[in-house]
Subunit: 440 residues, 2 copies
Amino acid sequence: MADALRIGIAGLGTVGAALVRILQQRSNELAISCGRKIEITAVSARNRNKDRGIDLSGIAWYDDPLDLAANADIDVYVELVGGANGAAETSVRAALARGLHVVTANKALLARYGVELARIAEKNGALLNYEAAVAGGIPVIKALRESLTGNHFSRVYGIMNGTCNYILSRMEKEGLSFDECLKDAQRLGYAEADPSFDIEGNDTAHKLAIMTTLAFGSEIAADDIYLEGITNISIEDIRAANELGYRIKLLGVAQKTETGIEQRVHPTMVPLDSVIAQVDGVTNAVALESDILGELLMVGPGAGGSATASAVLGDITDIAKSRPGAQQVPVLGRPAHLLEPYRRAQMRSHEGGYFIRLTVADRIGVFANIATRMADNGISLESIVQRSQPDAEPGAPVTIILVTHATMEDSVRKAVSAIRAEGYLVGEPQTIRIERPKTV
Amino acid sequence: MADALRIGIAGLGTVGAALVRILQQRSNELAISCGRKIEITAVSARNRNKDRGIDLSGIAWYDDPLDLAANADIDVYVELVGGANGAAETSVRAALARGLHVVTANKALLARYGVELARIAEKNGALLNYEAAVAGGIPVIKALRESLTGNHFSRVYGIMNGTCNYILSRMEKEGLSFDECLKDAQRLGYAEADPSFDIEGNDTAHKLAIMTTLAFGSEIAADDIYLEGITNISIEDIRAANELGYRIKLLGVAQKTETGIEQRVHPTMVPLDSVIAQVDGVTNAVALESDILGELLMVGPGAGGSATASAVLGDITDIAKSRPGAQQVPVLGRPAHLLEPYRRAQMRSHEGGYFIRLTVADRIGVFANIATRMADNGISLESIVQRSQPDAEPGAPVTIILVTHATMEDSVRKAVSAIRAEGYLVGEPQTIRIERPKTV
């Protein structure tokens, strides 16, 4: 049997503690699968005296992750500190500079510094594995970086934030408001005290940016993503979507178009009978569309200590099965210096179907006027539904819902703005993009 | 850049020809991803003069795959000949014995000789990759063998035969009979002229046997699988399933129980609102349930020249990215000599829900008698439905459908046999097992 693989783990929160426990309890079977032992040689965390229910005897303790990364006698540095900057960043840089392999679950770090870190890793013959950074336990990095090598991608998309999917699922199933569901999500630990990073789409955007680079070979452009969160999705939207055969999901979508790459995170209507529409609660799903394989959809846990630990463990065992320095999977699918500049497609040029919900004053001619404004902008309608509340007073506002055939975002914006100018709108119009899976 | 990886391809049917085309057309980008060129050095097929729309100039031609495997100047032997014996078997053995890496899409070969071939590969420091052998383009081998290393599995299952899924989907959607759908499947090329290997479940069994070994670390036992095909599924079963909230799929299921491992292929009722129930037509789906990750479901193309070629290409590029002999992923997840003997759990001990459809003479007391026979055998019922045809003559046979809570197969067999002895059954009773995904 080869020499043991010596690993150092920085960060002993839920994921780190779970990882230590698994590596210790399954030490023998892991050695059988990997052809060598995996030894935890060093750890680092904030509080040395905290009881984490794990045995750290015989393992070198470092107060500072950077100190561990720079000096510990290890082959692999496992970064579970978190955050785009600070100790996570400096320690990963230090480890790669020494030629250590690095395993991280840190999407924020990769979204910001991924290309630079890839260059450092490649220069020093180090591997940088980050399966847990995108969609938690779903092996999407492996699929993109290994299984689908040689494929040309047309679109990659997914439900990549469990908090948002939990909220939208509960709103639909129980008819609760956004605020009620958010509170429950916080109570259950699915949402942070400050939930904005999740519900505004930033978390999904980080993950999407990494997938985009792997799929399209462009540099990571996490700050160049069209973002729309789920805070203004109402129970009325969800019900109207259902009636028209759709379900609302927060998707991150990256798509190749003639003018560049679209990266967008927004509430999306998906057909009710599509596979992805069935993905409920905190579960994540990622779809990859490519020309040789076709469509691949993967569904699984997107977060949680155990699922994340499983992905980190897979990254570690991949290194253990290779001989140090032997395997050459490029960090971002191709060598970092060969990534192409990111060319952003304009959202105004986005083509697709749209759901538009308008609340209007109940006046003669409004319905006809809306239809005319749509036609003026070359928009063809799949369906148009006018609804009054059954118990509404005469003259009360009326809801009109339009579903368009594929059209251009610019046309929809112009049509809505023309309708707004007519003066009969009550409240804000709601526009939700429709996304259709190719076949599944 | 490292030396080119020289590959020899035996078998130039749909998959082989697609592979040659992709390797030639995407030669430069593959070299970028892999850090070295992939060169087709040798090929073998039956007919040298057939026009396959690919350029074979400059590539050594072998009439005999065995000759290619034994003598060509290559690093990797790609076996696309097919069949469990004959040229496929002898050529793979010869290649591995020389220490060549082997890539194959041949499930029949692996189901029969997988353990032996793994031993030869490991003895000679060769890799044996076979992603395309199970569920075509879905990267299930990579997930089991790499991503989920260290996980303990409780159950793996899936829709792994596109022909059966196509037939069942069409029967449900269009109300057609089994025979009509089979004919269409044959016309569209989804089913063979002799479809028995697909519709009787043998093809699914081969794939399941490989998954079982990877999940549970037991020797391959492809001949030790409980088999039930879809030929006796009627449109009535499908309709009754729908009404009760289920859909019928042919699943292969491997499950760890107290008495051993269940391997079974049979028509299965899955809940209508589960993700796997939405997988229609020739698409495949594989679910992996394990203790650290949780549940992972992957959906994608299970067959077809292009999807299969994508999986084969992924296997080749994995080798190209490693240095020869450097990577040590054990062929079957752990070294072949450490696989455990397969211990078969008895189907009689299988626990689960059951759908039972009985056609009975319309006599007083029959309904009560059926309920009593179920109770006698300790079977608790989730639902029991009696139906007459709306236009039935008085006294015409009546259909009774029972759905049981979790019970033991033995009890169901005894109850059905007791009911049969009562003499009021018209025609054969139908029994279909229910399978519930854990959460997705």
